[in-house]
């Protein structure tokens, strides 16, 4: 029952937000947003304590992988709403009716994706996220955000269409096989006797389709434009939650192919995409001028790492699932901090924001710590997952993959360090006023930073259990 509530509650709230008129109910609408986010988080917490039974005839269920992505989405959404309160108070544009409605719609869509066991339902959920996020990207209503949303829609739609074709291939692969079509549990049960050729084709098209939503290279070109132009709050949600849900899609089809013993066919493709994404990220991060576009390419890099870990198998799968959590938290943390910076100085270009440590002390410090977190420095969680993926690379007998991976990580670190440190420590412009950093804007990033730091040092019991199950489901093992 809770599973349905998780999806229905935000949808209902979104409808209400759209229904009320733009001008009058501003404060009430923000209150609803925060309330829904809080209840959603509470519901997810109860899922951890008391696991919920599948519902709607097995179409909605909270399995290990889905629960992890759901928790991540819920936590990020809650942090984003806290930030949104501060953001909307400053950006008093058109009452935020579309903004709040879009956000709630986004939460409903991502919850649907996380919980769905029916691949077509998952596809619908992802499709819904595209449409709920489009107005959010277009929030500033200027030429640049128009171009960003136009490109985002066109590329995402092409991707989603390919995913639909992939679903059709999967359905054809299942003709004449027992079990309900496209339901994950049945697919996994009868994986061995699915039609191999069609399953290959299905995997490839679903990978490209969901890969486009994830922002894997070469389908990543929409990412820098979209994250660059959308409000940082939205970019954070997209980089953290939306990419994780898209990865969930890739993970589901990988589960099926792994159950069908197609490792030798599937893994080279995943590793190929992973390394290509790392390479593209490395090339485009050096000499980057805008901090939001920099974070976008960092997101491309981490998507590459996710897929690379999946492709390596063994403990790489565990590393990948842990990395989904870590990456989501770290990306949202950084985007929210950059949001504060942009709010204070009005531009996300690196040249315009210098000497942040003195003008915005807390945000400056969080930005520098974020740099170390995102580039995988030890005290933070991302180190653990990247280190596990590295061990998997050596374990799988492909030292050259590990060497390439380390090379790209090194180049990426240099590119990011040059820019972010120049921003944080440079000589501040005389005019940069000392805007007081309101507590609403800082609660989100500080909470997320604490979570990433905690995950680097201690993984709670139930989470460890869920990670192990998810890793074994993806054809890997726990370290």
């Amino acid at each position: 029952m809770r599973l349905v509530a998780l999806c229905a509650l935000p949808a209902l709230a979104a409808a209400m937000a759209f229904a009320t008129s733009a001008r009058r109910f501003v404060r009430w609408r923000i209150g609803v947003l925060v309330a829904v986010a809080a209840t959603h988080l509470a519901l997810v917490a109860t899922l951890w304590i008391v696991p919920a039974a599948p519902v709607l005839g097995g179409w909605l269920a909270a399995d290990a992988l889905g629960l992890i992505v759901l928790t991540l989405t819920s936590v990020l959404f809650f942090a984003a709403t806290l930030h949104a309160v501060g953001y909307l108070r400053r950006e008093r544009q058109r009452g935020g009716r579309v903004f709040v409605g879009g956000l709630l719609g986004f939460l409903c869509a991502t919850s649907l994706v996380a919980l769905s066991q029916h691949l077509a339902l998952l596809w619908v959920g992802l499709e819904a996220t595209t449409f709920t996020v489009a107005p959010l990207i277009f929030h500033r209503h200027d030429r640049r955000s128009l171009e960003a949303v136009w490109k985002y829609l066109l590329i995402s739609s092409v991707g989603i269409a390919l995913a639909l074709l992939g679903l059709f291939f999967l359905a054809t692969a299942q003709t004449g096989v027992a079990g309900r079509p496209l339901v994950l549990s049945d697919l996994l049960a009868h994986a061995r006797d699915l039609h191999p050729a069609w399953l290959h084709a299905a995997f490839l098209f679903l990978l490209v389709g969901f890969g486009t939503k994830m922002g894997l290279a070469p389908m990543h070109t929409w990412k820098p434009d979209t994250y660059g132009e959308a409000p940082s709050l939205v970019s954070g949600l997209m980089a953290g939650a939306l990419t994780s849900c898209a990865f969930l899609g890739v993970a589901r089809i990988t589960q099926v192919t792994m159950a069908a013993r197609m490792g030798p066919f599937v893994q080279p493709v995943l590793v190929g995409f992973g390394l290509l994404s790392l390479a593209v990220a490395a090339i485009f991060i050096i000499g980057q001028g805008d901090v939001k576009r920099l974070l976008a390419y960092s997101s491309v890099e981490h998507m590459g790492l996710l897929v690379l870990g999946l492709g390596l198998g063994g403990i790489g799968a565990y590393g990948t699932v842990l990395h989904v959590l870590n990456n989501g938290l770290a990306k949202a943390w950084l985007f929210l901090v950059v949001g504060n910076v942009v709010l204070a100085t009005g531009s996300s270009a690196a040249a315009a924001n210098r000497g942040l440590v003195r003008t915005l002390p807390i945000s400056g410090a969080l930005l520098v710590l974020g740099l170390f977190a995102v580039t995988g420095s030890p005290p933070f969680g991302l180190f653990l997952s990247e280190f596990t993926i590295l061990r998997a690379a050596f374990g799988a007998g492909h030292p050259w993959i590990a060497v390439l991976m380390l090379l790209f990580l090194a180049i990426i670190f240099v590119g990011m360090a040059v820019m972010i440190l120049e921003m944080a420590l440079g000589e501040p412009e005389p005019r940069a006023g000392h805007a007081p950093e309101s507590w609403w804007l800082l609660a989100g990033p500080v909470g997320l930073a604490a979570a990433v730091l905690l995950l680097g040092v201690y993984i709670p019991g139930p989470l460890q259990h869920a990670l192990t199950i998810a890793a074994t489901a993806l054809g890997g093992t726990a370290p």
Binding site: A201, P264, F284, P379, L406
Partner: protein, 656 residues
């Protein structure tokens, strides 16, 4: 171990209190001084106990993170480094409080003290970590906090550049360490050092990969020559007490890492010994040549760190050769020499850096060409700097001589035994050359900075630093003298560390090695006594006739007294030597019709690293031009991906 944990928590508490009481610094800094001092003392006790022979129990924390449980322990090797960390750490922390006192107005100083405390704690944890994950966490915290302490004055562009170079170098080094432990951890059950030792890499190729990764990963941190490019930049940028901790302790972690790998690998291959020996000789000789060419006091001392790391590597190389060729005495002597020199270098290098800080603090400049005659104006700093110089050059009465003597003995031991290790003797010649050049360099520094006439008004008006600064100087100088004059106390514990590295020594060897140490104690004491007696005798003899001390320096009868400009400057003093090492020295001479200027540059950084990075940037820029932003091009990428996959499907797909 409980004392050690108490010590660490006290140090962290000190950092916390000084940060919290930022607004009224007087109480905050007093509490900081007391807590750091107490913390370091408590922490040092278990280390000294282990050095004296009593073992210390391990601290085990259940592993909540993949990679097994977290283990911390102190063995002889960690103890040597722990002693260095706590002594130098305490001195630098106290120095830092007094040193950055004058920055009070310009920037929040309490944060910097807290970071120093955190750095000392991280260093202690690196040395006692016995599992991969806590080791790497402590390692990176040390690196990151190190960076944050370096950029103490971020408004200066060279500080930011130095900090960035340091950060990039250490991070790439850490990535090599990730690879090292990933490769090594492959076969092991969990990631504790014990299980790594139990499952070492077997095939020669795996061992080679592990050792080269260790050399790169730890070499970047230690500053071995090709990877040392960040060291002078970072030291010139950092405040002096941070440079002291960096040079004294942080780069020693690179050496500690190499030693820990040797301990875990039990029988390192022969080629590794020769590589270490070669790297040591190269680092030593190039390090001291580049130091000779410097005008900036801190850069000069930084290059000397590279030289001393070279000497330590010679010891390590001799030790590894001893183990590989099966000569336990040579191995123990080599490792003991390396560990002892690491400890000594931590002491006198931090003393020299703090002295340089005191000079920079008093005169406001680090360019030695504008100093001179400071001995009269800053007697305590000058004397302690002289003691540091005598120690670093390895002259008898002080500790530098003892550790170099151990390294020499290990190389001689290799010489007189027949077998492959005989050629190690040539390294002794390299060590002698390093010693000679070091003597030239430190005579130059002492003379140009402290003796003669002040070359600039800044030097002329310099006044002795506040006691808060000179007291740590005196403490460290005292430590150098005590170790120098009373080696009998230090040598046994250093040999315990050496034998641990050499894979345990047959029981009858220890007394034999210790026996050879007794006469050296006598010799050093006799020498010191001899100088004292002779000084008294001369004093008594000339008491009768009062010496005239008001006359000008003899200028061969030239009527005018010599002025400050007639004195030898640093570059003129080093010119004959540098012309002999012309291509290596990195000195570019610019001659025009009316001017002659020399510009000193670090050859590795200028000719390899920066052009390399510009090349990567250039390639990236050309590729980036592809993303011109046209939508149809971006869609074409998606289509291309689909087409490639379809072709892959056609060839690899099919019936499998």
């Amino acid at each position: 171990m409980t004392l050690f944990v108490a010590g660490i928590s006290l140090i962290l508490l000190a950092g916390l209190t000084v940060a919290v009481f930022g607004r009224h610094p007087s109480f905050g800094q007093a509490a900081f001084r007391f807590l750091v001092g107490l913390g370091c003392a408590l922490g040092a006790i278990p280390a000294l106990a282990v050095l004296a022979g009593r073992g210390a129990s391990d601290v085990r924390i259940a592993g909540a993170v993949p990679g097994g449980e977290w283990v911390f322990g102190i063995d002889a090797l960690s103890a040597v480094f722990l002693v260095a960390i706590f002594v130098v750490g305490a001195a630098c922390a106290l120095y830092g409080v007094a040193y950055s006192g004058h920055d009070q107005g310009r920037r929040p100083v309490s944060g910097a003290h807290a970071l120093v405390a955190l750095l000392v704690a991280a260093l202690a944890l690196v040395v006692t970590a016995r599992a991969v994950v806590p080791f790497l966490i402590a390692w990176e915290v040390m690196a990151v906090v190190g960076y944050l302490t370096i950029v103490f004055e971020p408004e200066r562009a060279e500080v930011r550049r130095g900090g960035l170079l340091y950060l990039v170098a250490t991070h790439t080094g850490t990535l090599a360490l990730f690879a090292l432990f990933a490769v090594w951890g492959n076969g092991a059950i969990d990631l504790t050092f014990a299980s790594l030792a139990a499952h070492p890499p077997v095939s020669a190729a795996a061992i080679a990969v592990v050792l080269w990764l260790a050399l790169v990963g730890f070499g970047v941190k230690a500053g071995i020559v090709p990877l040392h490019f960040w060291l002078p930049e970072a030291h010139a940028a950092a405040p002096s007490h941070i440079s002291a901790i960096m040079s004294g302790l942080v780069i020693k972690m690179g050496i500690y890492g190499l030693m820990r790998v040797i301990v875990l690998l039990v029988s390192p291959p022969i080629w590794f010994g020769w590589v270490l020996l070669a790297l040591g000789a190269i680092s030593g000789i190039l390090g001291v040549i580049w130091a000779l060419a410097q005008h900036d006091l801190k850069r000069l001392l930084a290059f000397h760190s590279v030289e001393n790391i070279g000497i330590i590597l010679l010891g390590l190389g001799a030790g590894v050769l001893g183990v590989a060729y099966g000569h336990p005495v040579m191995a123990t002597l080599g490792f003991a020499g390396a560990a002892f020199h690491a400890l000594n270098h931590a002491l006198f290098k931090s003393l020299l850096f703090l002295g340089a800080g005191s000079v920079a603090h008093a005169t406001g400049t680090r360019d030695i060409e504008r100093l001179g005659g400071l001995a009269k104006r800053m007697p305590r700093t000058a004397t302690t700097f002289l003691i540091g110089s005598v120690a670093i050059v390895g002259l008898p009465p002080l500790n530098g001589f003892l550790s170099e003597w151990l390294v020499y003995r290990s190389l001689f031991q290799g010489g007189i035994i027949t077998g492959g290790a005989r050629f190690a003797v040539v390294a002794a010649v390299a060590l002698a050359l390093i010693g000679g050049l070091a003597l030239a360099c430190f005579v130059k520094v002492m003379a140009v900075v402290f003796l003669g006439l002040p070359r600039d008004t800044a030097a002329a008006e310099a006044r002795e630093s506040v006691p808060g600064i000179t007291r740590p100087l005196a403490g460290l100088a005292g430590a150098c003298i005590i170790i120098g004059l009373l080696p009998a106390f230090v040598l046994p514990s250093v040999f315990r560390a050496g034998s641990l590295l050499a894979g345990g020594l047959p029981p009858d060897m220890m007394p034999l090695i210790a026996a050879a140490n007794a006469p050296v104690t006598a010799f050093v004491l006799a020498l010191a006594a001899g100088i004292a007696v002779a000084w008294l005798v001369l004093r008594v003899l000339s008491r009768g006739r009062r010496a005239r001390a008001d006359v000008d320096t003899w200028a061969c009868g030239y009527p005018l007294p010599p002025t400050a400009r007639m004195q030898y400057t640093a570059s003129s003093f080093a010119a004959p030597l540098l012309t002999l090492f012309r291509p290596l020295a990195g000195v570019s001479v610019k001659r025009t019709s009316h001017s002659f200027t020399t510009h000193v540059v670090d050859p590795v950084l200028a000719e390899f690293m920066l052009p390399g990075w510009r090349g990567v940037r250039h390639v990236a820029d050309r590729i980036r031009r592809m993303q011109r932003g046209r939508i149809s091009l971006q869609l074409a990428y998606v289509v291309a991906a689909v087409i490639v996959l379809l072709i892959y499907l056609v060839f690899r797909g099919g019936a499998t």
